[in-house]
Symmetry: C2
Subunit: 163 residues, 2 copies
Amino acid sequence: MSEVRWLSDQEQAVWRSYLAATTMLREHIERRLQRDAQMPQTYYEVLVALSEAPDMKLRMSELADASRSSRSKLSHAVNRMERSGWISRDDCDVDRRGSWARLTEKGFAVIHAAAPDHVATVREALFDVLTPEQVRQLGEISAAIAGNLAGECAKVREEEGTL
Amino acid sequence: MSEVRWLSDQEQAVWRSYLAATTMLREHIERRLQRDAQMPQTYYEVLVALSEAPDMKLRMSELADASRSSRSKLSHAVNRMERSGWISRDDCDVDRRGSWARLTEKGFAVIHAAAPDHVATVREALFDVLTPEQVRQLGEISAAIAGNLAGECAKVREEEGTL
DNA sequence: TCTTACTAGTTGAACGTTCAATTTGTCTTG
DNA sequence: CAAGACAAATTGAACGTTCAACTAGTAAGA
């Protein structure tokens, strides 16, 4: 057991600031999306991933990776979006365990209707309050954090089935 | 209805990077805290807020502000932590509607046991992957975002009782 | 003082996520 | 071509959060 390296005062302040900013921003976006489009942010991300895929369809596990969902979470989410008529499921010929999730016409309409408000929210709450230089910095900082955690997260994914 | 100002390619890239980084970091910390201390991050923040308060007690609404919880969320959370014996509730003499949430001995022990692992997680996943300059930048960026949203969030808080 | 408005806090139902198990199908190796 | 290991996806239960009442107490004005 090694010594604890506590946070310096400056680090402490940055951490609290980071926590406040990311929490507030996430909740703000969630509230707006719920108000304007009656869906949580994770559903929005699933719809975006599908809308960008060839033929607007993806295998469930590809969709899980694209939207950073666990398989279980995605399964439940797709169930609900299927019930709303936004997504349909097709059997997969190549691998009979698998299934395709496909964006329906209605789902396509829903995401297109939701996008403008969502983009406006992101712009107002994030890009409009930062200088171009800060935007650049935020990009690099985010890449560093994400790059470091990507391995860790992949490990967790793998363990999903293993237990 | 005004024109939609879509995100530029660079903004799009930064936004996706930001989303990936903050989501992964939050989930990583949540997983570690759950594994090491059997509690979600929000409970940790509640316990920290209480441990820093005079006499380790706060009125429910003060605690809600300190931990950025809605009143309802906090009420449920304190219920569960009370059942675990981490927090106790006392009636408030000054205002008989109110109640104090106080950290118990056990709650104090729990947060002190959890802190070292938590700090190590934050350090490894955040501060160790950034340069000192980037840490400074992140502080300023976070302050800008949080500063801008603080008003918005206060507004939402106020509306909590009003409806 | 009575009445109206407001504030502190709680509650139950609905929602979305996690966790662990389960089902079904594929791949590998002997 | 069987046997076990592995992979794709789903399920139900438990958990935590949100939402919309609701209870009870305080404050303010006539």
